[in-house]
């Protein structure tokens, strides 16, 4: 199933990766929001699994987590949303992103089997570094689901091989040392970092954290294989609630236009 990810990153243009939180504002709203992402031109969907303690997230995604949990979103709803998405969009890669406790609480094998059944292509577990990944990673790979790892500005050359070992799908470069939704890193430092990462791996490199506007997304798309946008979309869901699909689609379309044409349009 990781082939859907490979296909998305093999397109003739950089990939737009879009993040929203499952169950935000309520579980039954998420399908329309995901459809809006696809209609707007997203190449990869990241679906956040809500957690009570999202310690790597800034205020926007924290609030989304609380809205989703407040609306009664359970892990079962997340998988139902994923399975519904897979049925409607057989070709669009879907990645679950979240925290270790909800992912491992019924056992890594259980989680991997649910992901498999729901047609999930990859999993990003924020607080599971390679040093602790002796159970979830193998369980996912066993089901042909990509464990997607994060590299950060603090990941030095000595650690990078450990991060890459066993990772699949794509490499997620967290461009700022910090939480989601905050300021963007200098473009020069992103370009250097992506160059270093690409010298060390054949995996596509997607860059995220702090990317909000089509202009920022285009600038990153010139140097990376993919651009991840999360907080800006999640803020629209926060603002528009049940009516978020329209505004989400509009922002996604603007981002997709910018990212997809980044290398053909002069800067």
């Amino acid at each position: 199933m990781t082939t859907r990810l490979a296909t998305a990153f093999a397109k003739p243009h950089p990939a737009l990766v879009c993040f929203v939180t499952a169950g935000d504002p309520e579980p039954h709203h998420t399908p329309a929001i995901l459809d809006a992402l696809v209609a707007g031109g997203a190449d990869v969907i990241e679906l956040g699994m809500p957690f009570t303690d999202p310690m790597a997230d800034g205020p926007a995604i924290q609030a989304a987590n609380l809205r989703a949990l407040g609306a009664g979103t359970r892990t079962g709803d997340v998988f139902r949303i994923a399975a519904g998405f897979r049925a409607r969009h057989p070709e669009v890669p879907l990645v679950l992103m979240g925290y270790a406790n909800p992912m491992t609480t019924r056992g890594p094998e259980w989680f991997a089997a649910e992901c498999h059944a729901a047609g999930v292509d990859g999993v990003i577990c924020v607080d599971l570094p390679p040093e602790e990944d002796d159970a979830l990673g193998p369980a996912l790979r066993d089901k042909d689901i990509a464990p997607i790892r994060l590299a950060t500005p603090t990941t030095d050359a000595a650690r990078l091989p450990a991060v890459l070992e066993g990772s699949a799908g794509f490499l997620y470069y967290v461009s700022v040392a910090g939480i989601t939704g905050k300021q963007q890193a200098q473009l020069g430092s992103i370009e250097d970092a992506v160059g270093r990462l690409k010298a060390a791996t054949d995996l596509p490199v997607a860059v995220g954290f702090g990317v909000r506007t089509p202009e920022q997304a285009a600038a990153i798309a010139r140097v990376a294989d993919g651009v991840v946008v999360g907080s800006a979309l999640v803020e629209l869901v926060g603002e528009h609630g049940a009516d978020a699909a329209g505004p989400v689609r509009a922002l996604t379309a603007a981002l997709a236009q910018a990212v997809h044409s980044a290398r053909t349009v002069a800067a």
Partner: protein, 405 residues
């Protein structure tokens, strides 16, 4: 005997990956991984450096006021009518609790690493006050994260921290208590890794924190063991300590772990009762991953963390240090729990019988002592950790007793 103890020692955890059996570890975002590896490296070097130990011990003696006394409580013993009750008087430390022992150790480590800014989380405010204190002492800027609910119920400590020059930031996310303060401190740390040292206040968090906090707090048990031997020529039969994250308890227990004759009892907060809202992660939780370590947590079937409740802000945490999870599973330490009401009664009992106003945290330990002492023989010895004084709690206690101050 000595060689047998070594072969089967309970004092050699964690392993090189920071695991206490199945617990502990380093469950942090990649941004923090290089930093905690660096912290571990510096901690190993500091531990092996006699100059570091000498400075730590000098500050404990002349700034904190150690060793703290070991005190036999005659009237409490008589009232309970069973085993002799002794207290390790860590409430007499500078700043009024055991928390300062750990803060001295960590700030020395921070300076050794060249860090210039200190952050911490706090629940009751005792760790916040202790951190603000050592920051003032060493002239480092200090930011304390505190749940907005705790800011409200621990006003005197908020004022103390501000007097000491700390910036206190109320945390409005989640349940507005200790776990949310810890989330916010982790968010600050991840964004400021280059210059910031995070002084964690209990024996939890990612490796090497549970180990280093335990080592710094072990001064409690080392002193108590030597004092007890000097005063009575024997070891205690039972150690008792309250558990929030477990730092005062592991500090008392650890030096005794290989003394087979010494039983140990950790006391969690049962809040309104174990069938209602409480903070007893061992009694009412199951293993999971939060705040950088695998340990017993209060959580639902999906692994969502549930709110803890205790009358004591310092015990109001849905997790527990990983070494306690391990000690529970291997059966070396027993764990029990005490309700808000029982703790309040024990608080008053100690005031009345010994002229000591305890904090609400050790009041939980005292309540457990009050239950077990009468079941033990008069020649047996209980040693409980009096890890904090109650000045900070008089408003909470007054409210519960229906007194308007």
């Amino acid at each position: 005997m000595a060689s047998e103890a070594l072969a089967n020692s309970f004092r050699t955890q964690p392993d090189e990956r920071g695991h206490f059996g199945a617990f502990g570890g380093r469950y942090v975002a990649e941004t923090l991984m290089p930093l905690i590896l660096e912290l571990e490296h510096h901690y190993r070097a500091a531990k092996a450096d006699p100059a570091f130990t000498a400075e730590f011990e000098d500050l404990l003696e002349h700034y904190v006021g150690r060793p703290s006394p070991l005190y036999f409580a005659p009237r409490l013993t008589e009232e309970l009518g069973g085993a002799q009750v002794w207290f390790k008087r860590d409430e007499l430390n500078h700043t009024g609790a055991h928390k300062i022992n750990n803060c001295i150790g960590q700030i020395l480590l921070a300076m050794r690493m060249g860090k210039t800014r200190i952050i911490a989380e706090t629940g009751a405010g005792q760790h916040g006050v202790a951190t603000a204190t050592v920051c003032a002492r060493f002239g480092l800027p200090c930011v304390i994260y505190m749940g907005s609910k705790d800011v409200e119920r621990q006003q005197p400590n908020v004022f103390r921290m501000r007097l000491l020059g700390a910036e206190v930031i109320p945390v409005h996310s989640g349940a507005h208590t200790l776990k949310d303060a810890m989330n916010e401190a982790l968010r600050d740390w991840v964004a400021n890794v280059h210059d910031t040292f995070y002084i964690i206040g209990t024996a939890a968090g990612p490796h090497p924190y549970p180990e280093l906090v335990r080592d710094f707090q072990s001064v409690i048990g080392k002193e108590a063991r030597a004092q007890m031997l000097a005063r009575t020529g024997r070891l205690p039969d039972l150690l008792v300590a309250a558990i929030g994250g477990g730092s005062n308890a592991i500090g008392l227990f650890h030096p005794f772990l290989d003394d087979a004759s010494v039983r140990m009892l950790g006391v969690e907060a049962a809040g309104h009762g174990l069938d209602k809202e409480h903070a007893a992660s061992l009694a009412g939780g199951r293993p999971g991953i939060l705040h950088g370590n695998k340990t017993y947590l209060l959580q639902d079937a999906d692994g969502q963390i549930t709110e803890a409740h205790s009358i004591s802000a310092g015990l109001d945490y849905p997790g527990i240090g990983p070494e306690h999870s391990w000690l529970k599973e291997i059966g070396r330490v027993d764990y029990t729990s005490v309700t808000d009401t029982e703790a309040l009664e024990a608080f008053q009992l100690l005031c009345r019988t010994e002229g000591i106003i305890p904090a609400l945290e050790p009041s939980h330990a005292i309540a457990a002592v009050a239950k077990v002492a009468p079941t033990m023989a008069k020649d047996q010895v209980i040693l409980a950790n009096l890890c904090g004084r109650g000045d900070k709690d008089i408003f909470t206690v007054a409210e519960h007793l229906g007194v308007v101050l």
